[in-house]
Amino acid sequence: VPVSAEYLIDYMLRADTAGAVSSWPTRLLDSLLAVGFRTATLPETGLLLQDYSPTYAPGVFGSALAGGALQGFVRAAQNGPNFGQFTAVEYTLAAPYVLANSGSNSPNMVVEFWTNGDVSTVFPSVVIATAPPLTPDYASSWYKLTVKSTGLEVSSSLPGFTTQVWTTAISSGAHHVSWVMSSNSALGTFAVAVELDGVSHTFATVSAAHGTLAQNYVAVGWSTASPVSTIEALQVTANTGGAPVNFFGATTSYPFAPQAVLNPSLNANLNVIGAVEGDTYSVIQQLVQAELAVAGGDESAVFRFYNRDTISSAQPVRTITSAASLKAIGGAEVAAAGVVNHCTVDWNGWSAAAAATNIYKATDPIRVPRGKTVILKPTLDAPARLYGNVPNGTVGVIADGSLATPAFGARFSTTKAGTATFNANSITRTVVQTASNQLQLTFTNNGSTDCWLVSSSDYLDVPAGTPVLQIAGYTWTADTATVDYQYPPNAASSRFGDQAHQISGDQWIQDLDTATLLAQDIVVDQCTPRPNLTGLSIVPDPRLQTVDVVHIQDPDVTGLDEYARIFGWTLNWDAGSFEMTVDARTLAAPGGWIMGVAGRSEIGSTAYVYPST
């Protein structure tokens, strides 16, 4: 949190197509953890523990995890993997994976991800651990895969495990890496293999079988700060496929041809999402509209999302000239109605409270009968995020005198009146945030008596029998403002007068920067009329697509010599005829001047030089 439109589009595509249309592979069978890292650490399978302000950069198939920062303390226990100090993200698996298995064909634990960039000095790693970070056991029960330019390395803190290295050169750039472990207590074997871009390597001698360790935690990060590589499409699975031959018969996602190609979004600060209407396609178009991007299927049914920077900086793909391929120009249309020199954009953002408060407090005594589970699903008065910015946690016991301190806490008594304290060790209690304004609290009473979530007579700060269950977090406050942008600064003074365009009520525009850039780009693009070239009849070129920029030249008749972006094309085939027409919008007003090149628009430039109005 916050997330970008890129993440939301990827999320919706995967949800509606079971992962078939996505920029990262569909979930592997028996998935324990799956996270794409498309500008968010929220996993599709598994639970996020912490993410420490991660950063993102272009990866192999979309935005990818590119680093993180700790909040000023050492994360790993002493003698644990140094890795932990620079960990960006930590997860709990959806279910514990028991590495050792009593059968003769134990499930393989498979880890895979893609990395992109330079791995010569700062190394991407994935750690699988029995205990969570910051606990003493974390230092003594982990396995780690490290990607280095000199090869793949598997290390472990487990007794008898010798670090295994597959020496193979790994160049800068995109690579798929996977790792499989298989332990069989019946045979007394423990085997490890790694795979790089589809080529596997099995380590000949690893160690004797390890104990029946339940692997629960995954940490992702780099060997030191400031990585120059990325990690994306991380998956962990209890892969049940096949006999232990040839990478143990495990299935990975390599090779992968993405069915969705996503640009980074220019709208990257979305915190709270209200109710939406429509199917996946139409909601995606709402997101697209909010940042003036393009998204949809191409000719081969691959989903493409182009942000407006990509669109505006596109280089011409070819020249269409009347000497060889331009047959006719249907029309060059200019309309005063197309001028926008004044744009206002409302943004509807959310501000998180700086300090945590108790966002939920039980008002009535809650009974958890012995041997039973009680699930509460309270709706909050306002959207919020949980204390510590985690999506889930454990409800602790609130000490005497600490009720005012924000925390996930409760008190447990044997009776409604709080006669005596109930042994908290006999009740499991978790909190999960299921929506920005909804929690799910689960209490399971394993004791021999009923349990009441009230303060007992052992506490002195409130009377016995007072309901005590509170969950801390940071409330979101709606924050609305309007950006107003015009060019020239007094648009009314232009020859077109004040030509206003208003964008309001769009819940997908949630921050000032996004709204400001949007208003600026609209005005810059539209403050002078740019001709639409319609019905351009050309020698058919099946390669051309919408959004392509072409250079069109007709020196002899119309004098046209301009760059234009295609917004429509038609191909017609009849017996004996094969024709193509194109509609395109010129990138600059005729005679436009920019960057010292008369008659040319901002091709290849990100700087704006305002045209004459």
Binding site: Y281, A324, A435, P540, P542, G568
Partner: protein, 174 residues
């Protein structure tokens, strides 16, 4: 731009002489007639970037909408003159494999090819180099009184994303 084509392909798009080919394939619910290229009488593919802004104020915003119409009028099986397009798709043709079925939502792909090798336009005919120009599904079709069949197809992606939009629960305000 669609990449991966040969230099000869590019050259033909800039010249005045082209030898073009079409390949139109349908995945029908029954019968062996998946490649109907030989029966094609007319194909038209239309693509545009759709926006809710007036055309004159258009940034490149919105979604690329693509549609395809084509007409089949020949034989779908050139070895049997009774196997016409009208026979295959006619809803009352009891011997058609599509009797009691229909072609709605049948996947359709259209490839456009240019003959780029040296054998083009010779007795050896050459081999076309294809570019995929449409992937979609049959939305409607009309069996005409002259035995031809006219199809209207919409792009696959729009059809594929018709489920109720699901957003991350953690961010959603209920």
């Amino acid at each position: 731009v669609i990449t991966g084509t040969s230099a000869a392909f590019t050259a033909q798009t800039e010249g005045v002489e082209q030898v073009a080919a079409w390949r139109l394939q349908m995945t029908l619910p029954a019968g062996p007639y998946s490649d109907v290229s030989l029966a094609v009488d007319h194909v038209s593919i239309n693509a545009s970037t759709t926006s809710d802004m007036p055309e004159g104020t258009r940034l490149e915003v919105g979604y690329p909408a693509m549609s395809c119409t084509f007409t089949l009028s020949g034989l779908v099986d050139v070895t049997d003159e009774s196997k016409t397009a009208g026979w295959l798709f006619g809803p009352y043709q009891v011997s058609s494999p599509l009797y009691y079925k229909d072609a709605l939502y049948a996947p359709v792909t259209v490839d456009i090819g240019l003959y780029t090798d040296n054998n083009a336009a010779t007795t050896l005919q050459g081999t076309p180099e294809y570019v995929r120009k449409f992937t979609g599904q049959v939305d409607s079709y009309v069996v005409n009184d002259d035995g031809s069949v006219t199809f209207t197809c919409i792009e696959k992606m729009r059809q594929q994303l018709r489920g109720a939009a699901q957003l991350p629960a953690l961010l959603t305000c209920r």
